[in-house]
Subunit: 425 residues, 2 copies
């Protein structure tokens, strides 16, 4: 039985109890959210780890994309990235490997990860074809379903599938004046496949087959936004919204079949349209959890896209986004390394926490108040421990001249907090 099926039947699973404990809410509230589909607990029935929930009323979660590429693949490095992501506080990782021994890499990550693991199954299918000098369009529809089945058995907790790349939605895209066209890897492969074969996307036409595989292993669906904008100029156009409508329809079908489902979102979006985008997704997708990449409210900062993504992510989370996919400083330039993974997770966690403050989650406000109280009484140890990245905070101040005093080198004895202590109001 999937978490969703159990919830619908009124059963509170062990995973729901775990999530309830983490979030500090009653187990019955978690069951209800899962039953309504406003929250999901991605956890393959073949894997064992402490479950986390994603959805309305829960802490905003963070995903770190790791994985190899054709020109850079080393399983040891991937494990180091996994550890860096988990240590920095990621709630999930996605193995997006496209180079090296893909089965072995996924298997290793599934065995080692103490958090949920997602994939984009079409990457493996296409990567294997290309490694054999075959063209992506030589993929057979059954190859894709076989791979999804393999991954379901292997223990993958959630998969991104580009079911919304339909002939109809590509026709809508044709008449959009985009600069970047498509920037989704999986989405563009599906588009190429559809255009080469002249038939419908099998992930759409055989959606019921997909649901059956997912139901069997309780793999959560993450309906990918293959038509997401890859430039501020392209944001929120007819193609993007047409696909979102399709994803909303499919989300309802998935829930009816007992399959947990999230919706993926953009991408490059101007700052003032992010909240509108979130509200629209919630409306069109019956309040399914929203999983966004970034969003990036400007295109001009390669090398700093973790920061740009944190700006968009904070605004998105504040508006109701449930799950942030990190963006690293390597975005638009190269495959992220271990430090990039760390920096990306921290940036997204800051955004998620700012979102949680706006969502009025009590734990979030308590955290800030505790930090400020420690600051007020110069309790540096508590400040370090409460910092989003304790080792960094400790190390930075430890290198300054005043590290053994209670003040810092910014103000020294001219510290405003000390001066204010002398004020008799």
């Amino acid at each position: 039985m999937t978490q969703l099926e159990a919830a619908k039947k009124g059963q509170i699973t062990e995973s729901m109890y775990q999530v309830a404990r983490q979030e500090g809410v009653p187990p019955e509230a978690i069951r209800e959210k899962v039953a309504f589909g406003t929250a999901v607990i991605p956890k393959n029935s073949n894997r064992h780890f402490e479950s986390r929930g994603i959805g309305a009323g829960l802490k905003t979660k963070v995903n770190a994309n790791i994985g190899t590429s054709p020109s850079h693949h080393d399983v040891t490095e991937e494990l180091a990235k996994l550890n860096a992501a988990v240590k920095a506080g990621a709630d999930a990782v996605m193995d997006l490997s496209t180079g090296g021994d893909l089965d072995q890499i996924l298997d290793t990550i599934l065995r080692q990860a103490p958090v949920m693991v997602g994939t984009v199954p079409i990457y493996k299918v296409i990567s294997k074809l290309m490694a054999q000098q075959k063209a992506p369009v030589e993929m057979a529809a059954d190859d894709l379903f076989s791979e999804i089945e393999y991954q379901g058995r292997a223990g993958v907790d959630f998969i991104t599938v580009h079911c919304g790349i339909t002939r109809r939605n590509l026709a809508v895209l044709k008449d959009c004046d985009r600069i970047m066209g498509m920037v989704s890897r999986g989405g563009s492969f599906m588009a190429e496949w559809i255009s080469a074969h002249g038939v419908e996307n099998p992930l759409y036409s055989r959606f019921d087959d997909l649901l059956e595989i997912c139901r069997q292993h309780d793999v959560a669906l993450s309906l990918g936004d293959g038509l997401r904008p890859g430039a501020i100029h392209d944001a929120e156009d007819r193609a993007q919204i047409a696909e979102l409508v399709t994803l909303g329809e499919l989300a309802r079908k998935a829930r009816r079949a007992g399959v947990q489902v999230m919706i993926e979102g953009p991408g490059h979006v101007p700052l003032n349209r992010i909240a509108d985008d979130v509200r629209q997704q919630k409306r069109l997708c019956d309040n399914a959890p929203y999983y966004v990449l970034g969003p990036l409210p400007t295109d001009i900062a390669p090398g700093y896209d973790h920061l740009v993504g944190a700006i968009g992510g904070a605004v998105a989370a504040a508006a109701g986004v449930d799950f942030l996919c990190y963006v690293t400083p390597a975005e638009h330039l190269h495959l992220p390394g271990i430090q990039d993974v760390h920096d990306g997770v921290i940036a997204s966690r800051i955004a998620a926490h700012i979102g949680d403050l706006e969502k009025n989650l009590p734990q979030a406000g308590d955290w800030d108040a505790a930090m400020s109280r420690a600051r007020r009484c110069f309790d540096w140890e508590t400040m370090y421990n409460l910092a989003i990245d304790p080792p960094l905070a400790r190390q930075r101040r430890g290198q300054s001249e005043d590290h053994s005093r209670d003040v810092c080198t910014m103000c020294g004895d001219l510290c405003a907090v000390k001066t204010f202590e002398r004020v008799a109001l």
Copy 2:
């Protein structure tokens, strides 16, 4: 004659022409903004550099705070910070030095800076007292006015003065339940002085004397928010708003006297109150330019406060803030170093640019579109040149395996943009 006096008389100054050229708007539009006080051009009549405007309808500007502290002072390092700030694209620097030979440091910065220079004059007065083992409350009111006069003659373009720390506003603060109390250095010194002497703040009671000094050298006033919140918990309380009301009254007086004026803003502010804060400042201060520090929408990320400040700064700029004071990764931990200055300026410039996109400044949108067009056709040289930090973007990608190919190590031949080129829509 000050820029404001000239503007009121219908004269377009050389500085207004310079600003008009930079912003791509007619000189008469600049004159009008300066005359109405919705924009300022901080430029001491004794200094020579390419003027920049701050205010409504102009690009969001960025300030970098530099300066020594009692335990860390080296004039060579300050010059390196100045150069790092200017190279990274700062529109202004403030010399906040409190350690070493303060006159020499300020003099050096004023001679070397190709951008406007601001100060907080009370820092120098108090630092000199403390260096003589005297208590801050031993300051005489005339010491402060003399220092301001000295700095006006020396060429300082704008000064932060905490005129809103009045007996009345401190009484309001008394009954606010703050965690952090006051976190403004200049503000807390004024509060201590008022409480020790039992008389009104001379910067408030003798505001006309202050205006006369500023008018003489065309020093722009930046009315400091001494009661700004230093914790999310403390944000937007009665004390903060009472001071803002006072600053609005003083801003009107300053304009009437021909003195250009900006208003300073918080501080630590929850994300969803930032836009309200900006709208309120504009209303209460007759649309005077708004100069904010951060704002920081969370307290929990020491080591990453440049990123937190960029989140708050982007939202603030989008809501109409005109001038962002950077926050560096050193904030809350130690005095910023050269790399911190660079990182802080870049983070604030990203926030400012995202604000400019929302302000519909045509140059802003053109920048993003040009970057995306370069991305679309794999024109890496153009991408590097358009990046907010060209050397970093070039260096990062240059270290990856695929740097001599048109693709990057993220996707290699599985590049979505390349795949999409093969799609026949």
